[in-house]
Amino acid sequence: MPKSYAHKVFPKRNIAIFSMLGILLIFSFGLNLLLGSIHIPVKAALQIFFGNSGNELWETILLDFRLPKSITAILAGAALAVSGLQMQTTFRNPLAGPYVLGISSGASLGVAIMLLGISSLAAVNLGGLLASFSLAGAAIIGSMLVLLVILAVSIRVKDIMTILILGMMFGSAASALVSILQFFSDESMLKAFVIWTMGSLSSVAGMQLHVFLIIVAIGIALALLSIPMLNVMQLGDTYAKGVGVNIGLSRAVVFLSTSLLAGGVTAFCGPIGFIGIAIPHIGRMVFRTANHAVLIPGVILLGSISLLLLDTISQLPGYSISLPINSVAAIMGIPIVIYVVLKNKRFTGL
């Protein structure tokens, strides 16, 4: 008798959860577009999207500012959640996150050299768009350098804990260099750097958004390709080798994906914390599975929704000021992490 096993991967419960998350994503996307310092009514927004409305100010705000920002939030949320999940699985450590390999520290170093080093040495003030593009470029170069070191190490070093420790050490070394640069830099550049570290979703637009989209798409595609390897690797190296997984290659793909995702987010939005650690836990709790074929799409949705909602909150709807996204993510994210940790005390293995 032929049996159907499709229900094993996507049982009814998961289908219901995915549908609910889908609706929630559309809802939070809409909310993010409509709310802000200026409230745009739903009707007006729909008119702007499907034809033209009379209000040019609203059209500009919606299409030129809020839409790119909302898309950035979706991409960044998905990227951070997927990279965090991959790191927790690969390192079999619940505290691992997108930045555990030192990738954001590398990006910070790149930005710091750009902002604090080169500009103060050359005494030129990089202005406007050029500055923001070169910031992203510097961050990407910084994180790629860290990635190359990590890949070189992971080929030679077999033990995953050693790689984790080395990653953290590279990160600390990069942070130390950033501190030295900060110490010697002038006030305006220092402020620009500090603002970059607070994170922002609103500085990605036009060409940058395309680049960001491509980076995130490649990163997530690599993660999707890694699903079977991730499922086996979470059992530990001995099992993974036992069933014939090429550990070195699989890890390299995971590290490349993580670097693209975490490095891309850091480059375009600054180092946004907590999403990458909290969302994978929430995903495991919600879906009650260890299967990455479910977890990866799940955390993509959860990550996007979370960052959209966090951004909506950080915009302080109705006020003309906004809070740094990184701080809001931390303040909202920490209680969630604490709740998750207290609720599932069993973290042995993962």
Partner: protein
Amino acid sequence: MSNHPISISNILLGYNPLNPLLPGFSVDAPKGEIIALVGRNGIGKSTLIRTIIGEQMPLNGTVCLNGVPLKHWSRRQRARLIAYVPSEQVRIPNLFIRDFVALARFPHLGWSKSLGSNDWDLVDQSLMLVGIDHLANRDISTVSDGERQRAMIAFALAQNSDIILLDEPTAFLDLPNKYEVVRLLSNLARNQQKTIIYSTHDLQGAISEVDTLWMMLESGFVYGAPEDIAFSNKFAKLLEKSELTFDTKTGLFNNQREHTKPITLEGQGNALFWTKRLVERLGFVSTEQANTEYRVCCKPLNSAYIWEVYQHSALISKVNTLTELGVLLRKL
């Protein structure tokens, strides 16, 4: 060259060529046999297992699988031929036992790594063979150690390999589970015609179930049927420098004791046997001569027993249980 599933020739194990763990040796593992790998801690049992699965290079010598040297097998081919059950316990939350066992199909799947209905049938069959099909939808981090060990064996079965290597599969188990798991492995070797090698410290359990013992000793590698090793008194070498002795009459491992005080025992059957065990544990030598200082007489009384203790043929005490007898004898 033999075509046994595993054939090891002139292998030298260790990390330092000048100081190998034990002298070089050759041995084969035939089809359908269960083999227990025993030896003191640190002698290289894990090293041997890691060498057979290709995780570690030997200092010298070769390992052949089905007559072909290990290095000619690709990672994937090797995974289809050998399943390895490590000693680390899998305790991943939210991982269901059926999904865990399904991961063993990895080396048999196409590029998409999705399981067909044949694969799932094999997974369910493996769960059934180890007797945990009722736990298929349980979270592996919430089951008992015995159930988890069975799930790990089911994983090896689902890998559908001719050879299964297990690193101390009984280490975490209680006594009944230890026996049941070894019994399960020996049935699998016989009925599924698999070659099963497991390392263990539980010699007593091994000698009653396995076909062959591989004994790693500092002086060299010894192998053979457990009865042969017992009969030719080779266990003595394994137990060198320890307090244990192997009783070739009973097939039991005993703690060596200084038996000094002679004692006379009278009685029959089981009662006499366990009384003898008790007095020997307490350092007496049991004899059947009647001229010793102490004498213990166990007699049936109604449906129970009574033990009478005599000193120079004068009755000094009567007790109803062996526990009380033990308390009494310790004071003498």
